[in-house]
């Protein structure tokens, strides 16, 4: 029997337990770890996007501190295969042996007493490479005479997928038909802390200890085991404090494998810390999509069909564990968005190019999908002469249809999508923006307003991922919980926290069940030796999955406490319950601490039928349906464009979000605003341009522009709270959402502002150059509106 515990439990904006160490500067990131006799690694990376390695010239003086592919005996390349039919696997060598396939690919590793010394050695090594013809653009990669990235494939396609669902009656004609070709540029996720690894062999434990800045320590351990040929029990992966992830740290790195191999080879600790130039030039790995998309509608604006051909630039290699096809496969399954669309046809290609392998970035395919579909709905609105939000209201899934199985068989769990959109439109004060636009003169800033709405499948588990058949399929999520003899609660989870405040929100969930002061609850994570197995932190899954597991473990502890407590108080177990950290009966109460002390120090006082498992429990959790919660949000934004400079100013920005039951609303707001700031980067600033030779052109943060405090407005966040019927407290995953809706809303607002000129932008980021070129096209075409 569990009573309601109040104060710092579910639904409270509790300040974060983890803040203090970061505020004191005493967080421990991988770069802060210094081990005695540690050597630093610097990598020789390919200067060419495609080429054959003739020779790697290493001066004799460096023979003992430089390692190439031929030295890496007994290792395996990284192979991330999907079981989807037709998937072509790539072998990513740890160090390139014969061929390089992107700028920044690893060729050799140099060791030095300091990072600077290791870098000095890199300058002394010459890689003799014959350049090959390069594929920079994913559309060129599909041409019949295109050079091949992987010769044995015969083409440059990792995977082609097709999804089609139609009504029995064929759609012969539609009064409204709109088609566009839309493109998103390649991005670098750019968490503020780069990647980094420190590895050390422990002779006593006969174990390799690997500190790495990762979101997925258990998955990295499996990957290291496969590549190094070591038992998993001989590897301990520790993810210390991680300075931002966003997907950038959700993979097995070749650098991780090499640093581990070097630590085994050298017998001393080895460290690699990625620098920003490496991150930008060798790891710009996100978001590059190209849509050829057609929407048909009736005169009212009701969508009749959606057809799309989508290319995703997956780069040269399939990354472990998400593979080269996750992004494109997800596009096909989620393109219809939160709408009820009767006819759907989508083809996707995951295309190999001479760039680094793609990774799922916050929102994964949803950001591109939302941009594409929401852009098209605005075109329908313009065609039928209605407000964009009106078209959306016509087509959104209605609350009385929930739960709703959409055309791709996604199961939307709960929510009121139209109400969410209406709230956003009301908050942005659409009428006054329209009046402002009417009153504006022919010169001066151009005002535009845009909306977007999306839903976000989160915490999706076995049923979804077994379909994709990638190296990692999430099953039951587990949490270990135990009381120590002094009555403090320790909870260990296999997920990893890198800014999401999970050390606090999971403690709130434990408090909700047991009523203990959250100061007495310690959340331990990010260490394969200490925590139960988990696929880690990705897919907005932690609060649902780890949260559910923590609740289960605490419930089990609660019943064990009650059994012992009832015996100590000489009452019935059925009359005993936990409240505010006390074990209670209607007449008496004792503290959890006293029960703990009985278990550990006075076992003679325990009941004869006590659970021999004592006060520690590992509990597993899956949702009632494991195909995910669906949070959703509407974004509404007003922009002002300077027609002379091409700058886009965000005048007002509103987000209405429904994340189900919020565990910690303050943390949720932080996730929503932070995600939106990244979406603003995608929409307006962040782009890794490549020249015709496949050279990345932005190698510093002076060229790769991240939004700062003057670029991100004061975003207004409103909430709805429709519980998920399937999760423990009704919570839904929301970690990625902010980054999904902003690109679409901003692009729609920009195109609304440009619409009097009869031109539109069809590519992100919407930089001043693209704005000015588009405005110039209008001038070339003659009269505005033509």
């Amino acid at each position: 029997m569990i009573a309601k515990n109040r104060g710092t439990g579910v639904g409270e904006s509790v300040p974060r337990k983890e803040d203090r160490r970061f505020l004191n500067g005493s967080g421990q990131f991988v770069g802060d770890i210094a081990l005695s006799h540690m050597e630093d690694v610097a990598f020789i990376r390919s200067p060419f996007a495609h080429g054959l390695i003739n020779n790697i010239e290493i001066p004799d003086s460096l023979r003992h501190s430089v390692y190439c592919a031929k030295d890496l005996i007994d290792t395996k390349s990284i192979r991330a295969v999907s079981n989807l039919k037709g998937f072509k696997p790539s072998d990513q060598p740890l160090l390139a042996l014969e061929k390089v396939r992107y700028v920044g690919e690893l060729i050799a590793a140099c060791l030095g007493a300091t990072r600077a010394e290791a870098e000095d050695k890199v300058d002394e090594i010459y890689a003799d490479i014959d350049p090959l013809p390069v594929i920079v653009d994913m559309l060129d990669a599909r041409k019949p005479d295109a050079p091949l990235i992987h010769e044995d494939w015969g083409d440059n396609i990792f995977l082609e997928t097709r999804m089609s669902a139609r009504q029995p009656e064929p759609l012969l004609s539609a009064p409204i038909k709109v088609n566009r070709k839309l493109r998103m540029s390649r991005q670098c996720m750019a968490p503020l802390e780069g990647r980094g690894v420190v590895a050390q062999w422990d002779n006593r434990l006969e174990q390799l200890t690997v500190y790495t800045s990762t979101q997925i320590p258990h998955i990295v351990r499996s990957g290291l085991s496969e590549c190094l040929g070591l038992d998993e029990s001989s590897i301990r992966v520790i993810s210390p404090d991680v300075g931002g992830g966003f997907g950038y740290k959700g993979l097995l790195l070749p650098e991780e494998v090499i640093v581990c191999w070097l630590a085994l080879k050298r017998g001393n600790p080895v460290r690699w810390l990625e620098d920003r130039r490496e991150a930008l030039t060798a790891a710009a790995n996100a978001r590059e999509h190209y849509y050829d998309i057609t929407l048909c509608a009736n005169q009212e604006g009701e969508v009749l069909s959606l057809d799309a051909q989508v290319h995703v630039d997956a780069g040269a290699y399939s990354a472990y564990p998400f593979t080269a096809c996750l992004e494109a496969a997800q596009v096909a399954s989620i393109l219809p968005g939160p709408y009820n669309i009767p006819n759907y046809n989508c083809k996707t290609w995951s295309v190999a190019t001479n760039k680094c392998g793609i990774l799922p970035y916050r929102g994964v395919a949803r950001t591109g999908v939302c941009y594409a579909l929401e852009s098209m709905l605005d075109l329908v609105a313009r065609s039928v002469g209605k407000e964009p939000f009106e078209i959306r209201l016509l087509n959104l899934v209605k609350p009385d249809q929930m739960p709703f199985n959409n055309i791709t068989n996604k199961h939307f769990d709960s929510g009121d999508y139209p109400a969410c959109l209406r709230k956003a439109v009301a908050a942005i004060d659409l009428d006054s923006v329209r009046k402002q636009q009417k009153d504006a003169g022919a010169t001066g800033p151009m005002i535009g307003v845009g909306v977007s709405i999306y839903n976000e499948q989160a915490a999706h588990g076995t049923t979804v991922y077994s379909g994709w058949g990638i190296p990692m399929i999430p099953g039951y999520e587990q949490a270990f919980a135990r009381f120590s003899p002094d009555g403090e609660l320790e909870i260990r989870v296999g997920i990893q926290c890198h800014g999401q405040g999970t050390e606090t929100s999971l403690a709130q969930i434990a408090h909700e069940v047991l009523g203990l002061d959250i100061a007495s609850i310690k959340i331990v994570h990010g260490d394969t030796a200490l925590s139960p197995y988990s696929t880690g932190t990705w897919g907005s899954r932690v609060i649902v999955m780890a949260g559910g597991a923590v609740a289960r473990a605490c419930e089990e502890l609660s019943s064990r406490l009650c059994k012992i407590g009832a015996h100590l108080m000489q009452s019935k177990v059925s009359d005993t319950y936990i409240e505010n950290g006390m074990v209670k009966t209607p007449a008496r109460q004792i503290s959890i601490q006293e029960v703990s002390q009985t278990w550990y120090r006075r076992p003679q006082d325990l009941p004869n039928d006590v659970d021999p498992g004592g006060l520690e429990v590992t509990a597993g959790y899956k949702m009632e349906r494991d195909d995910g919660t669906f949070s959703y949000a509407a974004h509404a934004v007003v922009v002002s464009i300077d027609p002379e400079l091409g700058n886009v100013d965000l005048m007002k920005y509103v987000i209405v979000e429904d994340g189900g039951k919020l565990i910690n609303p303050m943390i949720v707001d932080g996730q929503v605003c932070g995600g939106a700031a990244q979406g603003i980067g995608t929409a307006l600033y962040e782009e890794m341009p490549f020249d015709e030779n496949g050279q990345p052109m932005a190698s510093t943060l002076a060229e790769y522009i991240l939004p700062g405090a003057t670029e991100v407005p004061d975003i207004e966040v409103q909430h709805m709270e429709t519980p998920s019927p399937y999760s423990k407290f009704g919570q839904k995953g929301i970690g990625e959402g902010g980054a999904i809706g902003s690109v679409a809303a901003i692009a729609n607002a920009v195109n609304d502002a440009l619409s009097p000129l009869g031109v539109e932008i069809t590519e992100t980021p919407i930089t001043p150059r693209r704005i000015l070129e588009t405005i110039a096209m209008a001038k070339q075409d003659g009269t505005p509106g033509s």
């Binding site: 500067g25 600077a116 503020l192 932080g670 943060l701």
Partner: protein, 159 residues
């Protein structure tokens, strides 16, 4: 490469060291003095995670050379342990949720300290401009701006 002897004040302690001329102040603080609260985000002077006070002025320690800090007073995040002004900022950062991963936080706090001391009447727009040299990838800046506004408001209410 010949080393140079330097002597400087770091968080109130006299430090004497022999350094390579190329060593950045940030690397000197982190690698030689184990003051790892100063973080390196870009190592080319853009992100501001490495911001420390040099003679009372916020500066990027990744593009300052240790050798050029001869005789200077350096103050890093570790040097504010008993500083009530910084404590007020820290408390506001926590209550306004101005940090997530914590990597930009030490640099942000140094800049916030400077803003709140130097521009007591800063409005939101000014605060945002003053923060232009510190990137945060997690928060969207809302909490950071609100924390600084909050510190300034509390100071006004007191005075």
């Amino acid at each position: 490469m010949s080393n140079h002897n330097i002597s400087l004040d770091v968080n109130g302690c006299l430090v004497e060291a022999s350094v390579e001329p190329r060593q950045s102040l940030a690397d000197f603080l982190r690698e030689n003095l184990a003051l790892t609260g100063t973080h390196l985000g870009c190592e080319h002077g853009i992100c501001g995670a490495c911001t420390v006070f040099i003679n009372g002025v916020p500066a990027r320690s990744c593009i300052a050379r240790a050798v050029s800090c001869e005789g200077d007073e350096i103050k890093t995040i570790e040097g504010f342990v008993d500083d009530p002004w910084m404590e007020a900022i820290r408390e506001k950062f926590s209550s306004e949720h101005a940090l997530q991963c914590g990597f930009c936080t030490p640099g942000m706090l140094v800049t916030a300290y400077d803003i709140t001391k130097r521009i007591p009447d800063a409005d939101e727009a000014r605060i945002r401009v003053e923060l232009a040299g510190n990137l945060c990838r997690c928060t969207g800046y809302k909490g950071i701006v609100n924390a600084i506004k909050g510190v300034l408001k509390d100071q006004k209410d007191v005075s």
